[in-house]
Symmetry: C2
Subunit: 409 residues, 2 copies
């Protein structure tokens, strides 16, 4: 059961001028499943992306990086589910290229103007013939801004489609931001791949797109964790179609740039948090906020130590205020000169630990009350400085083991 | 069910001259449980120790470090279960000191000659009065080398007591090595604490003991992982009683030093691996061997990435040869210039992946066959150099979640 997450209302997903979306059933792994999605971008759109740091990155990730570095104007994005085209060597690269060639041929653009994305089983050959056969239907379907269908089209074992939308005023014009994501659900046999696509009709200097993608990912997708595993295919792509009529944003730290980035970040965070809320077997949504660090980096390091600890995560699943486990994770997070006698710990509003020990007023039933909630904030103060950082995670339940231990047949 | 692990046969645990052991029921957390163990060392023994890197280390760990640094000749070790005396601030330090004072008073030695160890619930005051009351009985019991009873006395929720013993010839004399360990089992509410005590009757320059403890831990306790969490109380202590009649070992890299170290390492490894075999909910014992690295450090880094991955661990639990998960863990282990096209992967004798992709001869049923075994070796070759390293771990099962999610009542 996802934590406070329901399917998006299509009426709430604002169209982004300059983006058409089509979905088809290509039978990539199973018949009768929407498994092929195209996003077609009007001429003049610009694109930035960030990709998995996994050195075992999938073939489509390698092709995306090449195409973005080559600097050709991206006009199409193609996403298949059912097969991740990862761990497939040179043959996988060739098949990813054939996907781009096929879509480029149908759209009369260059292959380098296509970005391919794949998610699904790994170490199996991509059935590129089925993708080629399915592309005409996906293109034919691309008559409108089918964001809700795209959110379904990129799902693997997500239980809920993930999409979000917002509007903001930038440079006197109303701009629209809409995006979709998938993740956390496994398509057996695979690790969870996170994909995120965020589009705006705002105008922005194309040279800023790579930096915009990086900064948005840092504030959203790079702050979530289900189990600490990083997929071979994780990707986050930002699209600007320049249709809103705003004066082009020239710098991200300008007033217009900040307004646009803030609105985009709020959508990116919803998309990223939706992945955690739909995490495998998740029953709780946990915000881990670390304050009082010497740097944001060390705060994030502590936050991730807590968020990745299987002992902490099972305690949340059990609604057990087993708070020593949180303190222990703080202790092994890798800050060499951490002074344990300065650590403060809150669970929501409950002051649990002070100066590294149990708070004298702390009562177990107060911790218990917070732990039973579906949404919980863990707040650690390191007492070393004024930096902060936050990550989002979920608990570790029996269902996580069941989902991931399930055999693939 | 522990993996290929049974209780030690007391007859196989050789006495170590100069070590007497006593166990008592002090009622520290529950009545009728052997929860207080003392190891009494003959005058002239020397001791070295390594302790948790967790910055939230427990009070007894802090006291042990102080006493070893002060250099007083250690004459007694006291271990209580039921309470970890961690997260207890200055009051915890005072209670750990009181434990040392009490034992020193009874034995007519200095408090600095006592090393205290605690394992159990954290963030609760150590019931030092019960320890004081129990010590006379433990001392009275210390009439012989009760290694098997000590292995039971330091258990928390371990399902099997852990002890091992060996003999070797060093400098023409037969020396004995016997040790005990506990770990992995949780005493609610706590993280798993690993404790290891290893004694030999060999003579060795006391100045070498700290280095010996470090090197033995590096080859044994520092290479095992259940869930990646590091306890506040983890400790490993090496004792030499100088009773065997060998010429004292003057250097660890001398012929005598190497012979002694090899024999001690084999016992330390058995003790460490026993903790994994009795890991919470463990059904498989996994050896992760990484070869072909530029350094042993990077090999260990990759081995730990595999050993910590919840996705890999659940696949082992399911006997599912979901080998992409292993490759993905290799990819995110943090080697920036890793070339995925050089990676080779074996499961026991089955060549699964070559040049980063599925091996052409690999058949799923071969992987399946290996995955169904209770003991499995994962062998990764990085193709970057000639260094190697190995870690040992277990799978992640439903029982892990059950054990750790169980409420403490």
């Amino acid at each position: 059961m996802p934590v406070h997450l329901t399917a998006p209302d299509p009426a709430q997903l604002h169209p982004v001028a300059g983006v058409r979306i089509g979905v088809a059933e290509a039978g990539i792994r199973k018949a009768g499943r929407k498994d092929l999605t195209v996003l077609l971008l009007q001429e003049g759109a610009s694109v930035g992306g960030v990709f998995t740091q996994n050195r075992f990155c999938a073939a489509p990730v390698q092709i995306c990086r090449q195409h973005l570095q080559a600097g050709a104007a991206v006009r199409a994005i193609v996403v298949n589910t059912g097969n991740a085209n990862a761990g497939t060597g040179d043959d996988g690269l060739a098949r990813a290229r054939r996907t781009c060639d096929a879509l480029a041929g149908l759209l009369k653009i260059e292959p380098a103007q296509v970005l391919p994305f794949s998610t699904g089983v790994i170490m199996e050959p991509l059935p590129v013939d089925r993708i080629e056969a399915g592309l005409p239907a996906a293109i034919a379907d691309a008559q409108g801004p089918h964001w809700a269908r795209a959110a379904e089209g990129i799902m693997t074992t997500d239980t809920v489609p993930k999409a979000a939308s917002a509007r903001a005023v930038v440079g006197g014009a109303t701009v629209t931001i809409t995006g979709i994501s998938k993740g956390a659900g496994m398509i057996r046999p695979n690790m969870a791949t996170m994909l995120g696509f965020l589009a705006t009709d705002a105008a922005i200097d194309p040279a800023l797109m790579a930096q915009l993608a990086r900064e948005l990912a840092d504030g959203s997708f790079n702050r979530i964790t289900i189990d600490g595993d990083t997929s071979t295919n994780d990707s986050f792509v930002v699209i600007a179609t320049h249709q809103a009529g705003n004066p082009p944003v020239k710098a991200l730290d300008s007033a217009d740039g900040q307004a646009l980035k803030a609105a985009m970040l709020s959508v990116a965070r919803q998309l990223a948090q939706a992945i955690v809320r739909d995490g495998e077997g998740a029953t709780k949504f946990i915000t881990v906020q670390v304050d009082g660090g010497q740097s944001a980096d060390e705060c994030r390091q502590v936050a991730y130590a807590i968020a990745h600890s299987p002992l902490v995560k099972t305690a949340f699943f059990a609604s057990d205020p087993n708070l020593g486990r949180i303190l222990a994770a703080v202790g092994y997070a890798g800050i060499q000169d951490l002074d344990q006698t300065r650590i403060e710990l809150h669970l929501d509003d409950v002051h649990v630990a002070t100066r590294g020990g149990r708070h004298p007023d702390y009562r177990e039933e107060d911790g218990q009350r917070v732990m039973q909630q579906a949404e919980i904030t863990v707040r650690v103060h390191l007492g070393r400085g004024s930096a902060s950082d936050t990550v989002w995670t979920c608990d570790l339940s029996h269902d996580y083991v069941s989902i991931n231990a399930d055999y693939r047949s």
